[in-house]
Symmetry: C2
Subunit: 153 residues, 2 copies
DNA sequence: TGGCTATTTAGAATTACTCCAAATATTGAC
DNA sequence: GTCAATATTTGGAGTAATTCTAAATAGCCA
């Protein structure tokens, strides 16, 4: 009990999550920490379903509803971004730097792509307030591209 | 019967739709023509649901399934673009020139925004094939912006 | 005009959440 | 440390937006 308490305290004080939660009046929970760990360990673009599957490996009793709740909270805390590249499941991205996404229409994988620094991609119409951009590049990734060109030779 | 035939023929030969269909081995149908008309008459960004409602005004027996089918076909023919600005219903855009979309998070309306001519927004990673870009700008439109600032004074 | 086959149609099925209310856990005060 | 207040988790029901299916209908070429 004492050991458990001190571990919890340690978690609360370390890492970006606990501080983000605290400033928003949200509580630290092992589920939130674990879902966040899952996202930063493998920095790809999983759907909620995929996050659920990965989370269950170390925390088998976590529920799908909790995964959705945690992901929402992490987005609210500015630790994750949602990305919607096609209709279908929403994806989550732990890279919070400015960047855009390449979506492979062949295998469905997603890659982060850097934006040319300081570029302002569009003209802002008068009176409009811009919150954020979302740039998606659709195409075929190098692996699929090579595979399609020539299976042999 | 002869009259009907000649009207059909006339439709088949005029407009961009019939030719696009023909080159793809697809058939001309009044439903496809009508759904296309609905999209070009009011050049906004309706959902399938909205297209269904508008289509029914002149063609009350058209079904939702047919609206989905027609929209898919029109996209395939290069006469419409699908746009996915948030999770939820897909939208359809009859503007086939290069442009991007401004999405108002307040009222949900969508505006076409011109891209600076000749701009290449992102660097293409080696071996990747680019099919098309999708640039969405999220923010608040001028009407909502003005309304929020000061209801009075 | 006929026949082959694409298209339309209503309704069932599916996907990806979103909502709900009861059980449980966290946190600040003592 | 213990308690009370309330945030969070959980399983399951509910919902929105398609997507699928199979029978009826309609284009189109010979």
């Amino acid at each position: 009990m004492v050991r458990r308490m001190s571990l919890t305290k340690k978690n609360r004080l370390s890492g970006p999550l606990s501080q983000r939660l605290q400033t928003r009046g949200l509580r630290f929970t092992p589920q939130r920490q674990h879902v966040y760990n899952v996202l930063v360990q493998k920095r790809d673009h999983p759907t909620a379903e995929e996050v659920f599957i990965r989370s269950k490996r170390e925390m088998p009793d976590i529920s799908m509803a909790t995964v959705y709740n945690c992901l929402d909270t992490l987005v609210e805390c500015g630790l994750l971004r949602q990305v919607q590249l096609e209709r279908g499941a929403r994806r989550y991205c732990p890279n919070m730097r400015e960047h855009c996404h390449f979506y492979c229409g062949e295998c469905g994988s997603v890659f982060d792509v850097a934006l040319p620094a300081g570029s302002r991609p569009v003209h802002r119409p008068k009176g409009f307030r811009i919150d954020h951009y979302e740039i998606a590049v659709h195409g075929i990734c190098s692996d699929c591209s090579a595979r399609k060109k020539r299976p042999k030779q």
